[in-house]
């Protein structure tokens, strides 16, 4: 069975501090990994996906197949980064549905 684990419900940092949101997964095969973000009173939106290898809003995430992790990182947090972050995975074929983690709330304090 596929599973996504986000061990932290809440992560609180000060502005300018580095951020790392943890995500571990289990999947029999080679998954596609995503980070979705939900800002206050907004809908869930894609932040980045591992195949794109992009840096969005200063965030990056590297897929580590050995550790089955896809941690989200940003070197210097901004107050506008405060939001709910969800890690998700899907398979490449067959079922295209996303399996989400339970989410981590990031609070960036001034």
């Amino acid at each position: 069975a596929q599973r996504v684990t986000q061990p932290e419900k809440l992560l609180s940092v000060f502005k300018g501090a580095p951020v790392e949101l943890k995500c571990n997964y289990s999947y029999s095969g080679s998954p596609e990994l995503f980070w979705y973000v939900q800002y206050s009173r907004q809908r869930l939106q894609l932040l980045l996906r591992h195949i794109s290898r992009e840096s969005i809003k200063g965030f990056t995430a590297d897929l580590n197949k050995g550790e089955t992790s896809f941690h989200l990182k940003k070197p210097f947090a901004q107050e506008e980064d405060s939001a709910m972050y969800y890690c998700a995975l899907s398979g490449w074929t067959g079922r295209r549905a996303l399996t989400f983690g339970s989410g981590t709330r990031l609070q960036v304090q001034p």
Partner: protein
């Protein structure tokens, strides 16, 4: 262009009532997904359509849940004889036009409260 829209945004139902939740996907999107998000949890998959065909309904929690997309665009999720445990946010997402690995775009959700 317009994103995914859902209606109603909020629904209060008495236990035992039937409810119908509507999703308007992005025009031209082939794939449509329904998810259920309980308080404090991530979204959980309910069902998936490719055009009008329901290809996966493995996430529907009981036979009280039914979804349709008869013309391959608008979709309706129906819950019969609602129970308190059905209280959640119901999210719709669409992707396409290829029906493959495209990004899923989410609607604002319908918050259902069953009393």
């Amino acid at each position: 262009g317009a994103g995914v829209s859902q209606s109603p945004r909020y629904k209060v139902a008495k236990r035992g009532q039937d409810v119908a939740l509507r999703c308007d996907p992005i025009s031209g999107h082939v794939s449509l997904f329904w998810y259920q998000q309980a308080l404090g949890q991530g979204p959980e998959f309910l069902t998936y359509f490719q055009n009008e065909a329901q290809l996966d309904k493995s996430g529907l929690p009981s036979d009280r849940f039914f979804a349709e997309r008869p013309e391959g665009s608008v979709s309706t999720l129906k819950i019969q004889r609602t129970q308190q445990e059905d209280s959640a946010v119901y999210l719709c997402a669409s992707s396409g036009p290829g029906g493959g690995t495209e990004t899923q775009y989410f609607g604002p959700g319908t918050r259902l409260l069953v009393l």
